[in-house]
Amino acid sequence: MNSSTAESERRKTCWLLLLAPALLTLIVFMLIPAGIVLRISFYPGSTTIGAEGYSLAQYVKFFWNPLHLSVLGETVAYALIVCLGCLVLGFPVGYSLARHPPAKRRVRMLMVIVPLTLSLVVVVFGWLVLLGRQGLINNVLVWLGILSSPQQLLFNRTAVVIVLIQQFLPFIILSVMNVVMQIDPFLEQASTSLRANRVRTFIKVVIPLSTPGILAGLSLIFVMAASAFVTPRLVGGPRAQMVGGFIYDQILTTSNWPFGAAMAFILLAVGFGLMAALNTAIIRPLTRGLHVQ
């Protein structure tokens, strides 16, 4: 008995040692700064210098202003549309990757991952070149005679959505691929032998079984899209505002740290809230019969 408790103690120590580096990094560079920012968001004034006390002034200020609310709403809308676009474009790719033999999968997967290795700024500049007045797309459209003269394709909401979808597509593809790889292909055959055609099999078997993976990928994309900052700035211009840009302005231009901090936490709360809702409403009931929890 003694030896078994000693054994489990030893195991625990091992676990802690293995976790320690990541945990430490997370605490020092993420949790502590986040705590500080949270504290700042409760300062009453518009500066941190000499600030004292606790107040909800920043939060009241945010929710009292219809402009702020509409930007928040627009940000959430962007994130949802990007999620939807990623899902529609990414699911078939992820599914087919999962059903390819490993040898064929490798090269294709590489093609999905490579864009992620590029710096975001480089990717966005690439899009500027592509979509600009003298860009490839305008030239082709004019040459084909579809446009009589080059049009402004940049600096609107559609451009932001397209560029965001392109950035986040790999995440949904990889999530879908991972989850579909765990679905026994015999299940789909069983379904067809039970008089379900491909569409029905897809709806009744493939989708329910891949939903946990899909939602994991989508919540990641939602959070990243909602906090996007570089893309709306460079591709969206003044007409496409997102909360990320607002926060940037507050903190770096206006130096209003308390208000910026409050907005950052509001955005965080929206993200967490949505994920929690997804989890209780969809993932948990769906996975009752599955191994994943």
């Binding site: 026994d184 299940l187 055959q189 069983a190 067809t192 039970l194 008089r195 079984l209 019969g289 599955l290």
Partner: protein, 362 residues
């Protein structure tokens, strides 16, 4: 009158053909998995495709299910050519090796799945599900999820799910290979009586000769994608048509030699057996239980053999014998404490009626 009708039924003469495979062929690129396969399955018949792994038996089954389309040839179900009909319109039920139950559905939902797909009314569905679960004795587990069931229970759910649609043919793909030995035999008997009661036309695939011999009405022994021999279990075991069948189904000794004029078979080292058949090179197939102790076969010339090994198999003792230059396997019984040891001599006789001759190795 009735007896006559039953006889006719039993002989299969009046039973209609349900499934026809006609010159089926399947290539994967340059690789031919099934070169030319033909077979007819009659109503209510339990046919088994038996063969080693890679012999094309599963491919053949999957072509009937509609998961694989043949390179050439035809498949007919109740006279209708279904070669190009998609799986979901074929009216074929299948039980997979791993059962392939839907993990996100309860047992009842699994069984109901096909019924929903054909648009059956809710009430009718419920009673059909109840009926199926009762047949496989799983009513009490209707609301469980598959992963909460044992392997044997999962198999029964898979069977109930396939049978709920009352398919024209039931396919079983190595249905017992995921179960342990004890359970396997019990479930085999259960399955057998269930399929018999439903008079279900069934095609099943296995590499286990015991399964094939006990379950099947007819066995198709497959080798390299072709039917090597088709026949009742007795025919396959007692009268194998080829060396492959003889070796694959059951144990046997194979003696190479010549059939001579005058009805005699003589091995290369001089062992003689009475024989009939075409004169020329041949291989004699002798099952271990047909090698007897000399005193059990009066009138048959006895021969003295040397025991090389002696293996204990419970009721039977299996001896590996050397007789001149030939090796023989013998299954027999000895009184307690009188089992011979390796190196000893034993007088044996080979039951001449039970010896079969197959074409020799090329």
């Amino acid at each position: 009158m009735q007896i006559l009708a039953q006889d006719a039924l039993a002989s299969g003469l009046q039973r209609e053909t349900i499934v026809v495979f006609r010159n089926l062929r399947k290539d994967y690129g340059a690789l031919t998995v099934v070169p030319d396969f033909s077979l007819e399955i009659r109503r209510g018949e339990l046919v088994c495709l038996l063969g080693p792994s890679g012999c094309g038996k599963t491919t053949t089954l999957r072509m009937l299910a509609g998961f694989i389309s043949p390179t050439s040839g035809e498949i007919l179900i109740e006279g209708q050519n279904v070669t190009r009909v998609p799986a979901y319109r074929r009216d074929v039920g299948i039980v997979f090796q791993n059962y392939a139950l839907f993990p996100h559905m309860t047992v009842a939902k699994n069984v109901e799945y096909g019924l929903v797909n054909i648009g059956m009314k809710r009430q009718e569905r419920a009673s059909r599900v109840q009926d199926m679960l009762r047949r496989v004795e799983l009513q009490h587990l209707a609301e469980r999820y598959p992963r909460e069931l044992s392997g044997g229970q999962q198999q029964r759910v898979a069977l109930a799910r396939a049978l709920a649609l009352q398919p024209k043919v039931l396919l079983l793909d190595e249905p017992f290979s995921n179960l342990d030995a004890q359970l396997r035999v019990r479930l085999r008997d259960d399955l057998h009586s269930l399929i018999r009661n439903l008079k279900m036309t069934t095609l099943f695939v296995t590499h286990d000769q015991d399964e094939a011999l006990t379950l099947a009405d007819r066995i198709v022994v497959m080798n390299k994608g072709a039917a090597e021999q088709v026949g009742s279990p007795e025919e396959i075991y007692d009268a194998p048509a080829t060396r492959f069948v003889a070796e694959f189904v059951g144990q046997c000794s194979l003696l190479e030699g010549q059939i001579l004029d005058g009805g005699e078979f003589r091995t290369d080292d001089g062992l003689k057996l009475p024989a009939f058949g075409q004169v020329g090179k041949a291989t004699a197939v002798i099952r271990p239980e047909n090698v007897k102790k000399a005193r059990e076969m009066p009138g048959v010339p006895a021969r003295r053999a040397r025991i090389e090994t002696s293996g204990y198999h419970g009721a039977l003792t299996r001896l590996q014998l050397r007789l001149g230059g030939s090796k023989l396997i013998m299954d027999t019984q000895f009184p307690v404490g009188q089992k011979p040891k390796p190196g000893e001599q034993i007088d044996i006789a080979i039951d001449p009626v039970a010896v079969r001759f197959v074409p020799p190795v090329q």
